[in-house]
Amino acid sequence: MHQVSAALAAFLASFVEFVEALTIVLAVGAVRGWRPAMVGTVAGIALLIVLVAILGPLLALIPIDAVRLAVGGLLLLFGMRWLRKAILRAAGHIALHDEAAAFARETAQLRSAGASAVAHDWPAAATAFQAVVLEGVEVVFIVIGVGAASNLLLPASIGAGMAGSIVVVLGVLLHRPLARIPENALKFVVGIMISAFGIFWLGEGMGFSWPGDDFSLPLLAIVLLAFSLAAIPMLRRPGASAR
Protein backbone atom coordinates (compact mmCIF):
# COMPACT_ATOMS: atom_id res chain seq x y z
CA MET A 1 0.00 0.00 0.00
CA HIS A 2 2.69 2.49 1.06
CA GLN A 3 4.97 1.44 -1.79
CA VAL A 4 2.38 2.43 -4.41
CA SER A 5 1.56 5.67 -2.56
CA ALA A 6 5.26 6.58 -2.26
CA ALA A 7 5.99 5.84 -5.93
CA LEU A 8 2.90 7.77 -7.08
CA ALA A 9 3.56 10.78 -4.84
CA ALA A 10 7.22 10.92 -5.94
CA PHE A 11 6.23 10.49 -9.60
CA LEU A 12 3.63 13.27 -9.61
CA ALA A 13 5.65 15.73 -7.52
CA SER A 14 8.85 15.11 -9.49
CA PHE A 15 6.96 15.40 -12.78
CA VAL A 16 5.89 18.94 -11.86
CA GLU A 17 9.45 19.90 -10.85
CA PHE A 18 11.02 18.36 -13.97
CA VAL A 19 8.53 20.22 -16.19
CA GLU A 20 9.52 23.52 -14.53
CA ALA A 21 13.25 22.78 -14.93
CA LEU A 22 12.71 21.74 -18.55
CA THR A 23 11.05 25.09 -19.34
CA ILE A 24 14.18 27.02 -18.25
CA VAL A 25 16.63 24.61 -19.92
CA LEU A 26 14.65 24.82 -23.17
CA ALA A 27 14.64 28.62 -22.96
CA VAL A 28 18.43 28.65 -22.51
CA GLY A 29 18.88 26.20 -25.38
CA ALA A 30 16.56 28.06 -27.74
CA VAL A 31 18.06 31.51 -27.10
CA ARG A 32 21.72 30.91 -26.17
CA GLY A 33 22.42 27.50 -27.71
CA TRP A 34 22.22 23.89 -26.58
CA ARG A 35 25.85 23.64 -25.45
CA PRO A 36 25.52 25.94 -22.37
CA ALA A 37 22.07 24.47 -21.68
CA MET A 38 23.56 20.96 -21.55
CA VAL A 39 26.68 22.08 -19.58
CA GLY A 40 24.45 23.70 -16.91
CA THR A 41 22.08 20.72 -16.82
CA VAL A 42 24.84 18.10 -16.48
CA ALA A 43 26.64 20.17 -13.79
CA GLY A 44 23.36 20.57 -11.89
CA ILE A 45 22.62 16.83 -12.04
CA ALA A 46 26.20 16.07 -10.87
CA LEU A 47 25.74 18.37 -7.83
CA LEU A 48 22.43 16.67 -7.00
CA ILE A 49 24.08 13.22 -7.19
CA VAL A 50 26.76 14.41 -4.73
CA LEU A 51 24.01 15.77 -2.45
CA VAL A 52 22.17 12.42 -2.46
CA ALA A 53 25.42 10.52 -1.91
CA ILE A 54 26.13 12.62 1.20
CA LEU A 55 22.58 12.83 2.62
CA GLY A 56 21.59 9.19 2.03
CA PRO A 57 24.15 7.53 4.36
CA LEU A 58 23.68 10.32 6.96
CA LEU A 59 19.97 9.52 7.26
CA ALA A 60 20.74 5.91 8.14
CA LEU A 61 22.62 7.12 11.24
CA ILE A 62 19.60 8.94 12.71
CA PRO A 63 16.99 7.05 14.82
CA ILE A 64 13.86 6.28 12.78
CA ASP A 65 11.46 8.21 15.10
CA ALA A 66 13.63 11.32 14.79
CA VAL A 67 13.70 10.90 11.00
CA ARG A 68 9.90 10.56 10.95
CA LEU A 69 9.45 13.69 13.06
CA ALA A 70 11.89 15.78 11.01
CA VAL A 71 10.83 14.48 7.61
CA GLY A 72 7.15 14.54 8.58
CA GLY A 73 7.46 18.17 9.68
CA LEU A 74 9.18 19.22 6.46
CA LEU A 75 6.71 17.26 4.31
CA LEU A 76 3.83 18.90 6.18
CA LEU A 77 5.20 22.41 5.54
CA PHE A 78 6.00 21.55 1.92
CA GLY A 79 2.68 19.83 1.21
CA MET A 80 0.48 22.40 2.97
CA ARG A 81 2.23 25.18 1.07
CA TRP A 82 1.39 23.50 -2.25
CA LEU A 83 -2.15 22.63 -1.15
CA ARG A 84 -2.87 26.16 0.08
CA LYS A 85 -1.70 27.63 -3.22
CA ALA A 86 -3.63 25.05 -5.25
CA ILE A 87 -6.85 25.82 -3.36
CA LEU A 88 -6.35 29.58 -3.73
CA ARG A 89 -5.68 29.09 -7.46
CA ALA A 90 -8.73 26.87 -7.90
CA ALA A 91 -10.84 29.44 -6.04
CA GLY A 92 -9.60 32.18 -8.38
CA HIS A 93 -7.62 34.20 -5.83
CA ILE A 94 -4.18 33.79 -7.40
CA ALA A 95 -3.20 33.30 -11.03
CA LEU A 96 -2.72 29.83 -12.49
CA HIS A 97 0.85 28.75 -13.23
CA ASP A 98 1.55 29.00 -16.96
CA GLU A 99 4.61 27.21 -18.42
CA ALA A 100 4.23 28.99 -21.79
CA ALA A 101 4.32 32.36 -20.03
CA ALA A 102 7.32 31.25 -17.93
CA PHE A 103 9.11 30.19 -21.13
CA ALA A 104 8.35 33.53 -22.81
CA ARG A 105 9.56 35.45 -19.74
CA GLU A 106 12.79 33.44 -19.51
CA THR A 107 13.60 33.74 -23.22
CA ALA A 108 12.98 37.50 -23.10
CA GLN A 109 15.38 37.83 -20.16
CA LEU A 110 18.05 35.73 -21.88
CA ARG A 111 17.70 37.74 -25.11
CA SER A 112 17.93 41.04 -23.27
CA ALA A 113 21.17 39.86 -21.65
CA GLY A 114 22.67 39.66 -25.16
CA ALA A 115 24.73 36.95 -26.84
CA SER A 116 27.97 35.95 -25.15
CA ALA A 117 31.12 36.96 -26.99
CA VAL A 118 33.26 34.27 -25.39
CA ALA A 119 33.45 30.62 -26.39
CA HIS A 120 31.79 29.42 -23.19
CA ASP A 121 28.48 31.11 -22.36
CA TRP A 122 28.76 30.77 -18.57
CA PRO A 123 25.79 33.03 -17.68
CA ALA A 124 23.51 30.87 -19.83
CA ALA A 125 24.99 27.68 -18.38
CA ALA A 126 24.51 29.14 -14.88
CA THR A 127 20.83 29.81 -15.62
CA ALA A 128 20.30 26.18 -16.65
CA PHE A 129 22.41 24.99 -13.68
CA GLN A 130 20.39 27.02 -11.18
CA ALA A 131 17.07 25.78 -12.58
CA VAL A 132 18.18 22.15 -12.49
CA VAL A 133 19.59 22.47 -8.95
CA LEU A 134 16.58 24.33 -7.53
CA GLU A 135 13.96 22.02 -9.03
CA GLY A 136 16.22 19.01 -8.46
CA VAL A 137 16.61 19.80 -4.75
CA GLU A 138 12.82 19.62 -4.51
CA VAL A 139 12.86 16.22 -6.23
CA VAL A 140 15.63 14.96 -3.90
CA PHE A 141 13.70 16.24 -0.87
CA ILE A 142 10.45 14.62 -2.04
CA VAL A 143 12.14 11.26 -2.71
CA ILE A 144 13.98 11.30 0.63
CA GLY A 145 10.96 12.69 2.49
CA VAL A 146 8.48 10.20 1.11
CA GLY A 147 10.89 7.27 1.14
CA ALA A 148 13.27 7.61 4.07
CA ALA A 149 10.80 7.36 6.93
CA SER A 150 9.75 3.80 6.10
CA ASN A 151 12.34 2.19 3.82
CA LEU A 152 10.46 3.34 0.72
CA LEU A 153 13.40 5.00 -1.00
CA LEU A 154 13.40 2.50 -3.87
CA PRO A 155 9.75 2.94 -4.97
CA ALA A 156 10.04 6.71 -4.45
CA SER A 157 13.24 6.80 -6.55
CA ILE A 158 11.60 4.69 -9.27
CA GLY A 159 8.63 7.08 -9.34
CA ALA A 160 10.89 10.13 -9.62
CA GLY A 161 13.10 8.41 -12.22
CA MET A 162 10.09 7.56 -14.38
CA ALA A 163 8.87 11.16 -14.17
CA GLY A 164 12.31 12.47 -15.16
CA SER A 165 12.58 10.05 -18.08
CA ILE A 166 9.15 10.97 -19.43
CA VAL A 167 9.82 14.73 -19.18
CA VAL A 168 13.26 14.41 -20.83
CA VAL A 169 11.83 12.32 -23.71
CA LEU A 170 8.94 14.77 -24.19
CA GLY A 171 11.37 17.70 -24.07
CA VAL A 172 13.69 16.15 -26.67
CA LEU A 173 10.75 15.28 -28.95
CA LEU A 174 8.79 18.51 -28.62
CA HIS A 175 11.55 21.11 -28.02
CA ARG A 176 9.04 23.37 -26.33
CA PRO A 177 7.66 23.73 -22.81
CA LEU A 178 5.00 21.26 -21.73
CA ALA A 179 2.29 23.90 -21.48
CA ARG A 180 -0.60 21.45 -21.85
CA ILE A 181 0.27 19.52 -18.72
CA PRO A 182 -2.47 20.28 -16.14
CA GLU A 183 0.18 21.52 -13.74
CA ASN A 184 -2.17 23.13 -11.25
CA ALA A 185 -4.31 20.00 -10.97
CA LEU A 186 -1.09 18.00 -10.47
CA LYS A 187 0.04 20.40 -7.75
CA PHE A 188 -3.35 20.03 -6.07
CA VAL A 189 -2.99 16.22 -5.99
CA VAL A 190 0.67 16.42 -4.93
CA GLY A 191 -0.16 18.89 -2.15
CA ILE A 192 -2.72 16.43 -0.80
CA MET A 193 -0.42 13.38 -1.06
CA ILE A 194 2.65 15.08 0.43
CA SER A 195 0.57 16.62 3.25
CA ALA A 196 -0.93 13.18 3.98
CA PHE A 197 2.56 11.66 4.19
CA GLY A 198 3.74 14.52 6.40
CA ILE A 199 0.81 14.26 8.85
CA PHE A 200 1.13 10.45 8.92
CA TRP A 201 4.88 10.47 9.67
CA LEU A 202 4.51 13.25 12.24
CA GLY A 203 1.84 11.26 14.07
CA GLU A 204 4.00 8.13 13.94
CA GLY A 205 7.08 10.07 15.07
CA MET A 206 5.11 11.50 18.03
CA GLY A 207 4.13 7.99 19.05
CA PHE A 208 0.43 8.42 18.20
CA SER A 209 -1.39 5.47 16.68
CA TRP A 210 -3.49 6.00 13.59
CA PRO A 211 -6.84 4.23 13.35
CA GLY A 212 -6.46 1.54 10.68
CA ASP A 213 -2.64 1.70 10.84
CA ASP A 214 -1.31 1.53 7.25
CA PHE A 215 -4.76 2.14 5.74
CA SER A 216 -4.87 5.53 7.44
CA LEU A 217 -2.50 7.02 4.84
CA PRO A 218 -4.99 6.82 1.93
CA LEU A 219 -7.73 7.82 4.38
CA LEU A 220 -5.75 10.93 5.31
CA ALA A 221 -5.46 11.77 1.60
CA ILE A 222 -9.23 11.32 1.17
CA VAL A 223 -9.96 13.57 4.18
CA LEU A 224 -7.61 16.26 2.82
CA LEU A 225 -9.18 15.96 -0.64
CA ALA A 226 -12.71 16.27 0.78
CA PHE A 227 -11.64 19.26 2.90
CA SER A 228 -10.05 20.98 -0.10
CA LEU A 229 -12.95 20.30 -2.46
CA ALA A 230 -15.35 21.66 0.15
CA ALA A 231 -13.16 24.74 0.73
CA ILE A 232 -12.86 25.76 -2.94
CA PRO A 233 -16.53 26.72 -3.57
CA MET A 234 -16.72 28.43 -0.16
CA LEU A 235 -13.63 30.54 -0.94
CA ARG A 236 -14.33 31.10 -4.65
CA ARG A 237 -14.02 34.71 -5.66
CA PRO A 238 -17.21 36.10 -7.22
CA GLY A 239 -16.88 35.88 -11.00
CA ALA A 240 -14.09 33.28 -10.95
CA SER A 241 -14.81 30.19 -13.06
CA ALA A 242 -14.48 26.63 -11.76
CA ARG A 243 -11.09 25.03 -12.63
Partner: protein
Protein backbone atom coordinates in the same frame (compact mmCIF):
# COMPACT_ATOMS: atom_id res chain seq x y z
CA UNK B 1 27.97 34.24 -3.36
CA UNK B 2 24.73 35.82 -4.54
CA UNK B 3 23.88 32.64 -6.40
CA UNK B 4 24.44 30.55 -3.25
CA UNK B 5 22.28 32.93 -1.19
CA UNK B 6 19.65 32.80 -3.93
CA UNK B 7 19.62 29.00 -3.81
CA UNK B 8 19.39 29.01 0.02
CA UNK B 9 16.50 31.49 -0.17
CA UNK B 10 14.75 29.24 -2.68
CA UNK B 11 15.30 26.19 -0.46
CA UNK B 12 13.68 28.03 2.48
CA UNK B 13 10.88 29.08 0.14
CA UNK B 14 10.19 25.37 -0.51
CA UNK B 15 8.74 25.10 2.97
CA UNK B 16 7.65 28.61 3.88
CA UNK B 17 5.44 30.67 1.61
CA UNK B 18 3.06 32.20 4.10
CA UNK B 19 5.03 32.57 7.33
CA UNK B 20 1.94 32.56 9.55
CA UNK B 21 0.86 29.16 8.17
CA UNK B 22 4.30 27.65 8.79
CA UNK B 23 4.48 29.06 12.33
CA UNK B 24 0.96 27.85 13.19
CA UNK B 25 1.70 24.33 11.86
CA UNK B 26 4.96 24.13 13.85
CA UNK B 27 3.35 25.46 17.06
CA UNK B 28 0.41 23.03 16.78
CA UNK B 29 2.83 20.13 16.14
CA UNK B 30 4.85 21.05 19.24
CA UNK B 31 1.72 21.54 21.36
CA UNK B 32 0.26 18.21 20.20
CA UNK B 33 3.54 16.41 20.89
CA UNK B 34 3.74 17.70 24.46
CA UNK B 35 0.08 18.07 25.47
CA UNK B 36 -1.95 15.31 23.78
CA UNK B 37 -0.26 12.42 25.64
CA UNK B 38 -1.11 14.20 28.92
CA UNK B 39 -4.81 14.57 28.04
CA UNK B 40 -7.35 11.81 28.69
CA UNK B 41 -7.67 11.08 24.96
CA UNK B 42 -8.11 7.43 23.96
CA UNK B 43 -5.33 5.85 21.92
CA UNK B 44 -6.16 6.27 18.26
CA UNK B 45 -7.91 9.57 18.80
CA UNK B 46 -4.72 11.54 19.52
CA UNK B 47 -3.72 11.16 15.86
CA UNK B 48 -7.20 12.27 14.76
CA UNK B 49 -7.00 15.35 17.00
CA UNK B 50 -3.60 16.11 15.44
CA UNK B 51 -5.16 15.97 11.94
CA UNK B 52 -8.14 18.12 12.95
CA UNK B 53 -5.74 20.77 14.25
CA UNK B 54 -3.91 20.91 10.93
CA UNK B 55 -7.19 21.17 9.01
CA UNK B 56 -8.38 24.00 11.28
CA UNK B 57 -5.08 25.86 10.75
CA UNK B 58 -5.28 25.45 6.95
CA UNK B 59 -8.93 26.51 6.90
CA UNK B 60 -8.28 29.62 8.97
CA UNK B 61 -5.24 30.53 6.86
CA UNK B 62 -7.25 30.16 3.63
CA UNK B 63 -10.04 32.32 5.05
CA UNK B 64 -7.58 35.08 5.96
CA UNK B 65 -5.71 34.75 2.66
CA UNK B 66 -8.86 35.18 0.57
CA UNK B 67 -9.61 38.38 2.46
CA UNK B 68 -6.22 39.94 1.83
CA UNK B 69 -5.41 38.58 -1.69
Amino acid sequence: MNAVLGILREVLHLFVDDGSLAVALILWSAAAFWLLPALPVNTGWDAVVLLLGYLAILGENLRRSTRRV
